[in-house]
């Protein structure tokens, strides 16, 4: 039984365009050498599945924005996106 008003959100953090991604590059060449054909680019990002105490959607968005700005994303090199999932 999940609490119906509990908030679930997914935050995705991706590298800004133009920022080098050594890990993505390495994965790209590893995939190619593993025989996965046609891979022309890989960029790695992070995601966070977050549970919040019950709150209005707007308030939840505020809190999640604060979480991203304060910690989850390094806004010098990363973009973030917040999605609220149904509770």
């Amino acid at each position: 039984m999940t609490n119906p008003t509990k908030i679930r959100a997914r935050v995705t953090v991706t590298l800004k365009n133009g920022v080098l991604d050594p890990q993505g590059k390495a994965i790209e060449s590893a995939l190619t050498s593993l025989g996965v054909e046609g891979v022309e680019g890989v960029r790695q990002g992070k995601l966070f599945d977050i549970e919040l105490a019950p709150a209005e959607a707007e308030r939840a968005r505020e809190l999640l924005t604060a979480a991203c700005e304060k910690l989850l994303a390094n806004t010098v090199i990363e973009n973030y996106r917040i999605e609220l999932v149904e509770g």
């Binding site: 050594p22 890990q23 390495a26």
Partner: protein
């Protein structure tokens, strides 16, 4: 010289750097991450190596936002000396005290080995005991030391002489082969604008003893003591 070594949960080279500082004659205290002030009279704040908060999320990210970092920022703003080694360098970048980021090593592996560095200039508080252009033999031990900054930042760092150390070969030549982790321009360490904050990936504190590898790391601590 009063040095404050800041300990975060997960720091693990605080003892190593304290030993190097004491060997050079510093008076060393440790400061807990939850503290909000540095001890009165602190000349040098040190962010040691390790895996603060497990290096979870991004290396240095959580530590960069610890309450003690406000005190470190204030100390730096007053012109106080700040030294961040390895995880400490990552924390300095994450806290905004130094520009750029340290990304995963190009080879994707953690690397622990001896490494030569070229000392770019010897007119700072951190390097006066070295010669400019000197190659020093220290150690590296990191998984995410690949220094990256945008073009503009990089140009500014280079133009202002803010690159402190570069990965080099034993003769001091800065070559791609001598770059262990893919850092732009072989950058191993950088200064803040006022040259009072230094962040570097390598571990000079582990080369202070002939029995344990050599003594090329001592110069950095001796420089600070002369500051």
């Amino acid at each position: 010289m009063k040095a404050a070594v800041i300990v975060f949960p997960g720091s693990n080279r605080e003892g190593d750097v304290a030993r190097a500082l004491k060997q050079a004659g510093a008076d060393v205290t440790t400061v807990w991450h939850a503290d909000t002030e540095l001890p009165p009279g602190t000349d040098l704040a040190v962010l040691p190596g390790g895996f603060s908060y497990g290096d979870y999320l991004r290396c240095g990210a959580i530590a960069g936002r610890a309450s003690v970092m406000d005190a470190v920022r204030a100390h730096a703003a007053r012109g106080g000396l700040v030294l961040g080694i390895c995880n400490g360098f990552q924390i300095l970048c994450e806290s905004g005290l130094l520009p750029g980021v340290l990304m995963r090593n190009a080879g994707l592996h953690f690397i622990c080995r001896r490494q030569f560095l070229r000392v770019e200039r010897n007119d700072t508080a951190f390097t006066r005991a070295y010669a400019a252009g000197q190659a020093i033999d220290v150690a590296i031990a990191h998984g995410e030391g690949n220094y990256v900054a945008d073009e503009e930042t990089l140009a500014r760092l280079e133009g202002d002489g803010r690159v402190a150390f570069r990965y080099a070969d034993r003769d001091g030549a800065v070559t791609p082969a001598a770059n262990p982790n893919g850092s732009l321009n072989n950058i191993a360490g950088i200064y803040s604008e006022k040259l009072n904050v230094l962040g570097l990936m390598p571990h000079p504190e582990n080369l202070i003893d002939d029995l344990v590898g050599g003594t090329d790391g001592r110069g950095l601590f001796q420089s600070l003591l002369a500051a």
